[in-house]
């Protein structure tokens, strides 16, 4: 009787040990998996708001982004404004965009046109200075609501205010919701 009981106990112990190991292995897999599932939405939202991966675009080249073809056509300083301190420079950035997929309100959601300098400083369009715009020039947001169809060509222009020391290295960049965390980083005009 006593021997039989001892044997059962040993068998249980071995079985228990096996299950204990299995449980441990399952936890090693399940805990990271649970964390990944729980944080999936947060990580997706985080990546959807950030510009992490730059896609370089050479001067005069076009790049397909957010369903359309983007080309930088001009990057210039607007000098001679007496109402702006001499150490600040208004910058005008012009793009020509050939619309591919016309659902711009969805594809260009959260559209950001930026200037990025060598020190990785980011400038967004300014409201502090404004210039008379040609009738067909649009901002990124107004272009979204322009009702443009596939094959249309849009002129997108944004105005920035940057310190003089940044003008030597600034590069225009474009980021839209459907492509984040990637963004386009354009080479400066070469001529």
């Amino acid at each position: 009787m006593s021997i039989a009981t001892q044997g059962t106990r040993n068998e249980r112990t071995v079985t228990e040990q096996r299950w204990w190991l299995r449980s441990l292995l399952a936890l090693i897999v399940l805990i990271p998996a649970a964390l990944a599932v729980m944080s999936y939405d947060s990580v997706k939202t985080l990546l959807g708001n950030q510009d992490f991966f730059a896609q370089d675009v050479a001067w005069k080249s076009k790049a397909r982004f957010g369903g359309s073809e983007w080309q930088l056509t001009d990057l210039r300083a607007a000098l001679g404004r007496s109402d702006i301190p001499p150490d600040l420079v208004p910058i005008l950035v012009d793009f020509t965009v050939t619309v591919g997929e016309p659902d711009l309100q969805k594809l260009w959601l959260g559209c950001r046109i930026m200037l990025i300098d060598a020190a990785d400083r980011h400038w967004l369009p300014t409201g502090a200075v404004s210039f008379r715009q040609a009738d067909d020039a649009k901002t990124c947001v107004s272009a979204m609501f322009s009702g443009a169809k596939s094959g249309d060509t849009l002129k997108v222009r944004e105005t920035f205010l940057v310190p003089k020391d940044a003008t030597a290295t600034i590069r225009p960049a474009v980021s839209v919701g459907s492509e984040r965390p990637s963004f386009l980083l354009f080479q400066r005009p070469q001529d």
Binding site: H122, W123, L124, V162, P163, D165, A166
Partner: protein, 192 residues
Amino acid sequence: MMRRVANLAVFLIAILLCYGMQTTKPHYADLTGPIPAYGAISNTVHTRTFDIGVDKVVFARTLKFDQFGKQKLLTTGGVWAIVTANLAATKDSAMVAAATWRGPDGLSYRASERASLATGGLPMALDPGVPAKTRMVFEILPSQADEAMLLVSGKLFAPLDSEARIALGPVALQADGMPEGTVETYELGKTF
């Protein structure tokens, strides 16, 4: 017997521990609240998105400013506190949207909307390397002028984002109960 007593003791300690943790648990709003960046009136405070340095604080009985071409005079049952500060974006273009005056008794006053149309008020967009200046106007009780704290953040509600908290220092009260140096009328001009 001893084992039972020990078990009971462990059980009671566990209950006490759980109760202690429950009662001292920080509120969710505190856990996800703004992250303070402290400073004094004489230094620049660095937050995640902007730097701020308070230039001066002026107290006034009446405010005067132009609104849509008409001169407007604002009186108050308390006192106006006008805080002028220098701002700078740290690395990226940023917004500064909210300012609160916290008095010594813990009374908090949001920047007054009565003077929100005057030049230099918040919200303000900042660009890196482009210096900016703001003028925040608060309508406060005179008793809340001394040892006050100015709270400035990028958003109206800034969970888990840094918030500048600037100690504005001692302010003596006059015989009439107003803060020392209170001017009769302060003009919120175009330049400041």
